[in-house]
């Protein structure tokens, strides 16, 4: 397109003022949909969390009774601790790992695109597939035991049947799938950097690492915040791995029981919908709090 001064660029952003009712009609289906299937359920869930509701009986109001019951519920305590452990293990290592991978694949070397594609493959399968495949790999007599058997000299390892190992394996499998995904986001961010600044930094004699830390990373604040918040929000909500990969949905002995799984069990196995809704509200508040803290820190880092 030929450039005809700044006018066309500016007008592209200006709204069409005249037939405004059409705009309302165009957005109405989406607005009504989100009102019905996002905002209403949130409000309804808040109400449910204040009631004792089973699947069939409409509930009666119990005030904050469900919330008061949580500290006395050992399952809730276990699930909370397991969730926090999972969140820790599937955020910090993912941030560092995905950033390092992005920096690596941002270098120039032979067969880079091909190797990047191979590295990216874990993003493709749905999480349920990831869980099923790793269930085979982590079978006591499976490929993983064979691989580590070389190193530790032990023939069978109960990766998923040990209360210490099982939660760690949830994290390992999660990070295996998450690191390539977040690497792509880092790479998209790195592609927007101005090469002049980096070159100026290297002319100044700044070391490569220091140059990255002081010159490039600050320009990636938006990407950093996105990677940190997306991975944290996702980790708090983890469900599929603990449901499919672990022994008996959250075992052994509840060592992989996380809040997402507890909500499912309370709601759809014990049919305590009110209590399940209350747990989901607590989970939501935790996610909200951590996200707000991250946004604050992101602003402060200026």
């Amino acid at each position: 397109m030929a450039l005809a001064g700044p006018a066309p660029v500016a007008s592209g952003r200006r709204r069409l003022m005249r037939p405004h009712w059409w705009g309302l009609i165009f957005v109405l289906p989406a607005v009504l949909f989100f009102a019905a299937f996002s905002v209403f359920p949130v409000l309804y869930g808040l109400w449910l969390s204040l009631t004792r509701t089973s699947l069939l009986n409409p509930g009666h109001f119990v005030g904050l009774g469900n919330y008061a019951a949580m500290p006395r519920d050992p399952l809730f305590g276990t699930a909370l601790a397991n969730t926090l452990e999972f969140v820790l293990g599937s955020t910090v290592p993912v941030w560092i790992g995905s950033l390092l991978a992005a920096l690596l694949f941002n270098q120039k070397f032979p067969a880079r695109e091909f190797l990047k594609t191979l590295f990216f493959l874990p993003v493709l399968p749905p999480l349920a597939v990831v869980a099923v495949v790793w269930k085979v790999l982590l079978n006591p007599s499976g490929a993983m035991s064979w691989l580590t058997g070389w190193i530790v000299g032990k023939e069978q390892i109960a990766w998923l049947y040990d209360t210490t190992l099982a939660p760690i394996m949830m994290i390992v499998v999660h990070d295996w799938a998450a690191i390539p995904f977040y690497m792509m986001i880092w790479l998209a961010g790195l592609a927007t950097l101005s090469p002049e600044l980096s070159e100026a930094a290297s002319l100044d004699g700044a070391g490569a690492l220091r140059g990255f830390w002081y010159v490039e990373l600050p320009q990636l604040r938006g990407t950093t915040l996105l990677v940190c918040s997306l991975s944290t929000i996702g980790a708090f909500q983890t469900f599929v791995l603990q449901y499919v990969l672990s022994q008996d949905h959250g075992g052994p002995v509840n060592s992989t029981l996380v809040l997402g799984l507890l909500i499912f069990k309370e709601g759809f196995q014990f049919f305590r919908m009110g209590y399940a809704a209350a747990i989901s509200v607590v989970l939501f508040l935790m996610i909200l709090l951590v996200t707000l803290i991250q946004i604050r820190l992101g602003r402060h880092g200026a």
Partner: protein, 272 residues
Amino acid sequence: MLRWVWFAIALVLACVFAFPLWFMVTSAFKAESEIMAVPIHWLPHHFQWLGQFRLAWRQSPVGRYLLNSFIVAFVQVAVTVFFGALAGFGFAKYRFPLHRFLFFFVISTMMIPFQILIIPLFMEVHALGWGNSYAGLIVPGMMNAFGVFMMRQYAADLPNELLEAGRVDGAGEFHMFLRIVLPLLVPALTSLGILVFIWSWGAFLWPLVVVQDRHLQVLAVGLTDFSQSYSRPPEWGAAMAASTLATLPIAVLFAFFQKYFVRGLTAAAVKG
């Protein structure tokens, strides 16, 4: 040379990360006894052409799961893309009462984690009489706020002159959307469509709770037939065959639309 050092590191990393999928695909063609073989078989020694796939088909209604996954994904992609573009265009190019409030309303739903919706949404869908049905399976995931947000960003960049020209020709506003706006948004619609397909195809928790009838279940949930069999010994070959099938559509999308695929996945990063 430094570039060979990078190459060596990248090679090792790529092999480690790609290995589980290599194992999945090759094991789908192995004999059952080979899958737990020590040392592992990098390639099938007793190549089963479609034996494991047939076994999977016999053990579980895999064909039905596949069909259901495609139905759900197709409807959700079509509706999200069309109404997302319509709403995005409306927000980008028109002024109307409550404009700012409604946009904020839609965007704020992006912040709602699905875990808080699951219980009330289940009750709501049952109250609507959609429990254990395609409607219950499909409708709650038929739109997403990110789609509206993304489409608004792209629609805002469309030149107004083009729209004015459409008006001069006497086209109605909706006609203009169909004839002028949608074709211009095709690259963005493709990225969004691929993204929604991936989300829809991988959805697990919602289908798990809303559907009880196996013949309505989607493949992601149906896969667990093979991993949690309590009554019979697990058939890992069939599990790998079904897993390969469940990955295939995404892999095909990736192979043919790599540019849109990556752009869709990173759209939030670049646009946000």
